[in-house]
């Protein structure tokens, strides 16, 4: 029992809990992800299903879909991004307050999907930094939930303050997560 644990002992500490700033900030951030549903095609239907009562994203603390980018911190790009729409996606991303994350939901948002054509942006990561990619055409709501939980894990691992300046300097997020490609141990 030599492992050091941080536990709350009311006799010793009264009403004070000792922790790290990163842990607290990340704990708050990861359990109150406010997604911006950038619904562009059929993936948006699955996104709505994930938000509905059957799959119920609110179990994980991310149900507050905000249709204003000013109030959101996670953009879920759900659907095919055309070159004409790319400008709008980028502008909405710019309008979101830091810190912010992007989930590319489905094949089209991740790579252009089946739309190998003159009109379709071949992956939304060409214009915004993507944190989590979700495979599927469209992905099942469970896959989106998995992605959002992966995003929570990622937020939990971030350095809350360093991340801000790092983002500003490089303009891109660190390495993305692949939903569905879980570690097998």
């Amino acid at each position: 029992m030599n492992q050091q644990t941080v536990a709350y002992d009311s006799k010793v500490e009264g009403e004070v809990i000792v922790t790290q700033a990163d842990a607290v900030i990340n704990w708050i951030r990861k359990h109150s992800v406010w997604p911006m549903p950038m619904g562009l095609a059929c993936c948006a239907i699955e996104l709505m299903a994930a938000g509905g009562s059957r799959f119920d994203m609110s179990r994980f603390g991310m149900e507050v879909m905000r249709f204003s980018p000013r109030q959101a911190d996670c953009m879920i790009v759900a659907g095919t991004v055309t070159y004409k729409m790319a400008e709008v996606v980028r502008r909405i991303y710019e309008q979101m307050a830091e810190p912010k994350w992007v989930v590319a939901m489905g094949a089209c948002a991740s790579t252009g999907g089946m739309y190998r054509s003159y009109a379709t942006l071949q992956g939304v990561d060409r214009i915004v930094p993507v944190d989590v990619y979700v495979s599927g055409c469209p992905p099942r709501p469970e896959a989106l939930l998995d992605a959002m939980i992966k995003l929570q894990d990622k937020i939990g691992r971030e350095s809350a303050f360093k991340n801000l300046t790092a983002r500003k300097a490089s303009g891109a997020a660190p390495a993305p997560e692949m939903a569905g490609a879980g570690k097998v141990s």
Binding site: Y83, A86, R116, A119, I127
Partner: protein, 204 residues
Amino acid sequence: MAESELALLQERFDCLTERESADHLAVNCPAAKLVEFCTALRDNFGYDMLVDVTAVDWDAQSPRFTGIYHFLSLSKHEYLRVAVDCADDINPTLPSLCDLYAAANWHERETYDLMGIRYEGHPDLRRILMWDAYPYHPLRKDFPLAGIETPLPAADVAAQTGASVLPAPMMGGPFVSSGDGPMSQTEPRARDESWTEKKEKPTD
């Protein structure tokens, strides 16, 4: 039914010729007579609905562009296809049907956008799908499916992200369904998967 309908139409417009068709009655009409003919179709022949306006690019042939109109008579339950050749192969033009059928407005804008046919008399002939500054008409036969490199519509976004409109990777495509059969076997896939953009297409 169709034969007598054609006879009735030709009785009034002797410029019409019958057009080969696998389904509905189809006629060729000269562009100069199109508005007069369509007015009669709407007012005298009961074709009260314009279902579709599109065009065909015949590539190397002349006339290169043919405008296609699909009319539906809601009383007779009959379709009629009207084909109009564009005289000019370089700058194809056709008269607009916007004054006759409100439905023509967006359809003509789409055909202008993708085929580059100008509809004279159209109240607002702008692109409808591609952005305004897009320099090509993508459904023309000389336009590659993958696209041609062009700048993004928004200059500031392009400057910030370094992105531009690039040809899509075809990877042996285009991706087409083989047709009949169970869905599991007819998923769209590349016909010739032996080449990619990095590996030359084999020539035989």
